[in-house]
């Protein structure tokens, strides 16, 4: 052995900096996690089918509760569920299948629009509320006043004031719910507001709206999805409940709640008229809730490390 058998090699410094792992993508990981749950996939298919049927079937059936072509045809009334009338017919000879999907469509429209308004308003206001200490002082007072009025009472008062109808119901639900979502977001923002990376952004002169968009909002994805998956079924139930007690949609509009109320008198004689809409509304709520919760879990990056 002698020294001349060895040569010096250059140390490749940048090689040690190389990251070998594949690129991480947040949304890809979210979907991978979501689709690893068989129940969630099943419920997603259910929820998606419900959406499709509810928005397509009424186009063909043209169901309208005020139109009763078979009202004088006794043979058409109270037909039990069979091959032609899957859900049977009601007291005026209308197909319950048509009625249920028309009602589901209205419930879904109300719930989805009210959820969208509540979420957008709640998240935007909640983020500024949680981030700005000045705004918190004012908002918390407003919140304390409204949080102490029972939600149902407020909705009912609004419905009596503005009358029954889809738009009124969407308005009443959104107006009474967005503040709760904003408060929920405010608490979450306060938890992450003074984390060091937010201080770093402030040091770099990042304006508040960009800090909220880049540093705060991405951390809220999971809680926002949680809130949505809670609101959609909740608003469906509210529509059902309010129409049932007669302050939601009128009997002129197809509605699951209105139907349940109208058919509750047949609980003994033709119980399918009552139970089918009840089961469908429960089924929709559960499927949307489970899809939402699984998505909320999957959008928390802590579940991505396996």
């Amino acid at each position: 052995m002698s020294d001349n058998k060895f040569t010096f090699v250059q140390l490749e410094e940048s090689a040690s900096e190389h990251i070998a792992s594949p690129q991480y993508s947040y949304w890809k990981s979210v979907f991978r996690k979501f689709f690893s749950s068989k129940l969630a996939i099943f419920m997603l298919i259910v929820a998606f089918s419900v959406l499709l049927i509810a928005f397509i079937q009424p186009i063909f059936s043209k169901y309208n509760p005020t139109i009763m072509p078979h009202i004088n045809d006794r043979t058409m009334k109270y037909i039990r569920p069979n091959a032609t009338y899957w859900f049977g017919t009601d007291d005026v000879g209308n197909s319950l299948f048509d009625a249920v999907w028309a009602g589901t469509k209205n419930s879904l429209i109300i719930s989805l629009i009210a959820t969208a308004i509540t979420t957008v308003l709640g998240v935007i206001v909640g983020m500024f509320w949680g981030y700005s200490k000045k705004m918190d002082q004012i908002m918390i007072q407003i919140y304390n006043v409204f949080a102490n009025i029972p939600f149902t009472l407020l909705v009912m008062v609004l419905m009596y004031t503005f009358g029954q109808g889809m738009a009124q119901l969407i308005f009443a639900l959104s107006v009474t719910s967005w503040l709760g979502t904003a408060y929920f977001i405010r608490v979450q923002v306060m938890i992450i507001r003074d984390r060091e990376y937010n201080l770093a952004s402030r040091c770099l002169g990042t304006p508040t709206h960009r800090i909220l968009k880049q540093n705060v909002l991405p951390y809220l994805v999971s809680v926002i999805v949680t809130a949505i998956s809670r609101d959609v079924p909740l608003f469906i139930s509210y529509e059902v409940f309010l129409s049932f007690i007669g302050v939601g949609l009128s009997q002129k509009e197809a509605s699951l709640g209105g139907m349940i109320q109208k058919y509750s008198v047949y609980l003994q004689s033709a119980s399918y008229l009552f139970w089918i809409p009840v089961c469908i509304s429960a089924f929709i709520s559960v499927s949307f809730y489970i899809v939402g919760q699984t998505l909320a879990d999957a959008s928390d990056p802590r579940t991505h490390m396996v």
């Binding site: 190389h18 991480y24 952004s201 770099l204 540093n215």
Partner: protein, 310 residues
């Protein structure tokens, strides 16, 4: 010393947290000057208020009293928008905890570009990319890292991302808050060398926060020793190591490991006992006991320290 320009003046700075009855004064009547181009170290144990001072300079922490002057302009309290932006461009900070100071949901590209976006410090998208690539290579990282997220990096790499995002602003003053204390010993030198390199190339002034003197000896020109929110001694590095006066400084010095194992073995650790000070009648204040050497003491102690210096 006199020909050097004072770039940062901290005057009688106090910072109190909390309100009502539960207040806690984290920083008490702190005074120091930082000269242009030097490395000024603030050393003290955990909880002594080092981070609080650093954050007051970058205006994250509001002051309870005192003022901070940068380049002859007051930068504490309420500032006009132009002043605010001017201060941000001039003074940047590297944060203590590399695990917490990067936004986990943003790519390295965004994190490093953040300051550029805020002040539109680029001509076009290409220029921005070139600047980010340059900033990455300045800290020894690769352009391919831009599309990665912080959690994919090691502690040392993350801290260098933190340095890159501050340095891309081309600040004149950098507050480095214990930039290496959370890092593995093996990579500390790398980060320190990086800071030294920037200082040489860009005439950067650095306020370097650390919790032990051994780190600071090789990089700083002057050192302030802080104890419970108060600067107890401030001097040039060699002066402080050779002629330390305050018992707290002495105890910190005794904790510095020595390269000779024989001496190290027989070395005596000095424990600081606050009760050696009798401040009941004779009140202490901050004195310049010798040009450039400051100490927190009362008259009786000053007499004693003067004798020690001879």
């Amino acid at each position: 010393m006199d020909d050097k320009k004072v770039i940062l003046e901290v005057k009688d700075l106090s910072i109190t947290f909390g309100s009502g009855k539960k207040t806690f004064t984290a920083v008490k009547n702190v005074n120091f000057n930082v000269f242009e181009g030097e490395t000024f170290a603030i050393v003290g144990e955990s909880g002594s208020g080092k981070t609080t001072i650093g954050r007051a300079i970058v205006r994250i922490n509001p002051l309870s009293s005192g003022e901070i002057i940068y380049d002859d302009k007051k930068i504490s309290g309420k500032l006009s928008k132009e002043m605010d932006q001017w201060v941000i461009k001039n003074i940047q900070m590297v944060f203590q905890d590399p695990a917490a100071s990067l936004n986990e949901r943003a790519t390295i590209d965004y994190i490093i570009s953040e300051g550029l976006y805020n002040f539109k410090l680029y001509k076009n998208e290409e220029d921005r990319k070139a600047k980010v690539d340059q900033a990455l290579s300045d800290v020894g990282l690769l352009p391919e890292h831009k599309s990665r997220y912080p959690h994919e990096f090691s502690g040392g790499q993350r801290q260098r991302v933190g340095i890159a995002r501050a340095m891309i602003m081309e600040p004149k003053l950098l507050i480095a808050d214990e930039p290496i204390s959370a890092l593995d010993v093996s990579i500390r030198a790398q980060v320190l060398n990086l800071l030294k390199k920037f200082q040489k190339e860009r005439n950067l002034t650095v306020v370097f926060v650390a919790h032990d003197l051994s780190v600071v000896r090789f990089i700083s020109d002057r050192i302030a020793v802080i104890h419970k929110g108060r600067i107890v001694e401030l001097a040039e590095t060699e002066e402080l190591f050779n002629n330390s006066l305050h018992p707290y400084t002495k105890s910190l010095l005794s904790a510095v490991p020595l390269p000779d194992p024989e001496i190290e073995k027989s070395k005596e650790l000095i424990v600081y006992d606050e009760s050696v000070h009798d401040y009941s009648v004779d009140k202490p204040s901050f004195h310049e006991i010798k040009p450039g050497h400051f100490i927190w003491a009362n008259q009786a102690e000053l007499e004693k320290y003067r004798l020690e210096l001879k």
